[in-house]
């Protein structure tokens, strides 16, 4: 556990208390069973906003508390533990980062206070294929007079059904694969020509395919510099990845704790199964990996707060290491629980499904291993 300030300890304690009491895994189950179209419970999200969690990285002048990424990471770790479904990561971290880092004064004033208060859900719309590849953006943004017209489709848009604002990556020049020629746009979800369709994913969380058919936008919709959106997009994605890594760490920790409890209570052959060395050594390996993953996640979040030059590699390290760890722990959770772990009535399946969806978001382990190598010159 990182060395925390008093404010950070209080925030973490508040998040722990709320998630354990108001948003345990049974709340996620209820949401899943109700087939909630948004993929989360709006009343629960309103409570989170009420506690100020939607404004943690937003400057005070726009209604936030400016507590930083490590602080928001502490909250996400707790929500990850109980699989709390909410747009917190998409709107209050990813989209908010895009506006804080790239927005004009007018754009910030228009959107950030609404994100901080929770009345607006914003999200990134960046994926076009089955694998994270932001430089392969093909969605066309054609210059028309003083503005642009967007045409194309985005997929795996997290919280896409709930979003009122989309941060869209589009191509204003060059071809898919070029980092030059990418431009970010702020697109209200109710703009003419925007359509969306719910993506029903295994993890039951909110996601959508969003279509753009000749969506006309003014020049004021451009976030950052036209054609030079890549460095901004990378910075935004790195923040989203680090935040997601914190949430994944929480999920992995709880999956492990739940499994460890089972090892101490399930009796076979006249003893608890946790007495068997074959299981003990696998548990020790998971514990070791969790400790290593925590170091990476905290280092990445702290690097963002310190605006350190090694943010990209620390973020890729964190996303890959916590991805590997959650992958392992979620598999072991099912295996070590045996038959009961295969039943829908048990929580193990929820962790397994969420693990794979989170691994895929913003680049899986293979993506980040390759990126880590590239960043280090090999």
């Amino acid at each position: 556990m990182a060395v925390l300030t008093e404010e950070q300890s209080m925030l973490r304690d508040a998040a722990r208390t709320w998630t354990q009491e108001k948003s345990p895994v049974s709340a996620f189950r209820k949401m899943r069973d109700s087939a909630a179209p948004l993929g989360y419970d709006p009343a629960a999200f309103a409570e989170m906003a009420e506690m100020g969690w939607t404004g943690v990285i937003i400057p005070e002048e726009y209604g936030g508390s400016d507590f930083g990424y490590l602080s928001l990471g502490l909250v996400l770790e707790e929500t990850g533990r109980t699989l709390t479904a909410s747009p917190l990561l998409s709107t209050a971290l990813a989209a908010a980062s895009a506006l804080v880092l790239g927005g004009t004064q007018a754009q910030k004033e228009a959107w950030l206070p609404k994100i901080a208060s929770g009345e607006l859900v914003a999200t990134l719309a960046i994926e076009e294929g089955a694998h994270h590849a932001p430089e392969k953006t093909a969605l066309a943004a054609t210059k028309t007079g003083s503005g642009y017209t967007l045409s194309g489709t985005k997929t795996f848009v997290l919280e896409g059904m709930a979003a009122g604002l989309l941060v869209v990556s589009a191509r204003t020049s060059g071809k898919a694969g070029d980092t030059d020629g990418i431009t970010l746009f702020l697109v209200p979800a109710d703009a003419k020509g925007v359509s969306r369709k719910q993506l029903k994913l295994a993890d039951s969380r909110g996601a959508a395919i969003v279509g753009f058919e000749n969506v006309a936008l003014g020049a004021e919709a451009v976030l950052g510099e036209a054609g030079k959106g890549w460095p901004l997009l990378e910075k935004v994605l790195d923040r989203a990845r680090a935040g997601l890594a914190a949430e994944m760490l929480g999920s992995a920790l709880q999956a492990f704790d739940t499994t460890l409890d089972y090892l101490k209570t399930r009796v076979q052959f006249g003893q608890v199964i946790g007495a068997f060395q074959a299981l003990q050594h696998r548990a020790a390996k998971m514990f070791t990996d969790l400790e290593l993953a925590r170091s990476c996640v905290e280092a990445a979040l702290a690097a963002i707060d310190n605006d350190s030059p090694d943010v990209p590699e620390l973020v890729s390290l964190a996303k890959a290491k916590v991805g590997d760890t959650l992958h392992l722990v979620s598999n072991e959770m099912v295996q070590m629980h045996g038959g009961i772990g295969m039943t829908d009535a048990h929580d193990a399946g929820f962790y397994l499904k969420r693990a794979r969806a989170a691994e895929a978001a913003y680049g899986n382990q293979a993506y980040h291993r390759d990126r880590y190598a590239r960043l280090n010159g090999y």
Partner: protein, 405 residues
């Protein structure tokens, strides 16, 4: 995140001035001298540097000044280390005395023992070896049988130890002996034995890497004075456990994780480009190898970040805790993975045993790869560490009852 506090600027200036006046320029960057040679090398500059550091106590910078240590705070010790690496200076004081025995004796020894032994370690005057494992007591260390009989004014020691690192050039041995054969853990005492006693015989053991870093050590009617008992009679096991924590911390942590211990130099990525070529983008041409090199480098980075996190969290001075068991497995595994990768990357050039057909780096890679296999065996094997994590940290039942660590 790390906040070590304190104003160290004044100390930095002092340390810089003292190092400039005392570190012989002829030794700049030549730390290898101290580790290649078995005993302190017979060179005037090495002797002068060792004496200067011994007098100052800076070879063991955080040990108390009253016993010959440097008396520095952890923050000052870090500054000293930074200033030393800045000018290519290195610590001439090392070995098991500083890594394991000294910290343990500071905690468990009586005043006379600390006065006698700590200062000699700080001055690199006495070399220590570790008499723990026996032919019949490896992972099950507490089943050791080397016997120490109470003969009134002394103990009479008979038995044998194995894997005693550096016994052939050691002056003293910190040894676990059986003083009560009716009990297991509660019948073990911690005894300091003079290796120059005529009843001590040492036979080096040749290992797969070709060198003989370990020995068999035989004790035949060795008389050990009563004042060489550390801690209470039959109370040696808890001292041994503490010492092993220092050992594991040293193996996993302070030495760059196993790989560093055995001197496999060069980064796998640079070696891969040199031995196997780069693609048109300057990347390692073999995508499979590139992914594995990257995964390994990530493991190393995660390990280093964990060391830093543990240091920040401990906020100094609490000594190593149960977390050192995690560090040993993570560090030694990463070190072995690195050695395996390097040998693979070198291809048949990474199979050389000796001779001028191979570069010194290639030969060192092979010896380091083989020698490094010991890191997951000694100091409590990888599997014993997993047992310790299961039992002490995770609270799982001990499948071996009271007979394990």
């Amino acid at each position: 995140m790390a906040d070590f506090g304190g104003d160290t600027d004044a100390f930095r200036a002092d340390a810089r001035a003292w190092l400039a006046a005392n570190f012989p320029a002829s030794l700049k960057g030549k730390a290898a001298i101290a580790y290649i040679e078995e005993a302190t090398p017979d060179r005037a500059d090495v002797k002068a540097w060792t004496k200067a550091m011994g007098d100052k106590g800076w070879g063991v910078p955080t040990w108390p000044r009253q016993y010959g240590g440097g008396g520095l705070t952890p923050a000052e010790a870090r500054v000293l280390s930074q200033e030393m690496s800045r000018i290519g200076a290195w610590n001439p004081v090392g070995g098991m005395g500083t890594m394991m025995f000294g910290p343990t004796l500071l905690e468990y020894g009586n005043e006379a023992q600390k006065q006698t032994h700590i200062r000699a370690i700080a001055r690199q005057e006495v070399r220590w070896c570790q008499g723990f494992s026996e032919p019949g007591a490896g992972s099950d260390l507490a089943s050791l049988q080397t016997k120490a009989e109470d003969k009134g004014d002394h103990f009479l020691v008979n038995g044998s130890k194995i894997w005693t690192s550096g016994a052939q050039w050691s002056d003293m041995c910190f040894c676990l002996v059986r003083t009560d054969s009716t009990k297991k853990h509660e019948g073990i005492s911690f005894l300091l034995i003079d290796m120059h006693d005529p009843g001590v015989e040492v036979r080096p053991i040749k290992l797969i890497a070709g060198a003989s870093p370990f020995c068999e050590t035989f004790f035949t009617d060795v008389k050990v004075p009563k004042e060489n008992l550390v801690g209470p009679l039959n109370g040696g096991w808890s001292i041994a456990k503490r010492l092993l924590q220092h050992e594991r911390g040293g193996i996993g942590g302070g030495n760059g994780g196993g790989g560093g211990l055995f001197g496999v130099g060069g980064s796998p990525s640079a070696l891969a480009k040199r031995y196997m070529g780069a693609d048109e983008n300057g990347r390692i041409a073999d995508a499979d190898l590139r992914a594995r090199v990257s995964a390994h480098e990530m493991d190393m980075r995660a390990f280093q970040l964990t060391i830093m996190r543990a240091m920040a969290e401990a906020k100094s001075n609490q000594g190593p805790g149960a977390a050192t068991s995690i560090m040993k497995n993570a560090g030694t595994k990463a070190g072995q993975d690195r050695a395996e990768l390097i040998v693979e990357i070198m291809g048949t050039r990474g199979l050389g045993w000796e001779g001028e057909e191979f570069t010194p780096d290639e030969l060192a890679a092979v010896r380091g790869w083989l020698g490094g296999k010991a890191t997951t065996i000694f100091g409590g094997s990888f599997e014993i560490q997993s047992n310790i994590i299961s039992k002490r940290i995770l609270g799982l039942p001990d499948p071996l009852g009271s007979s394990s660590h």
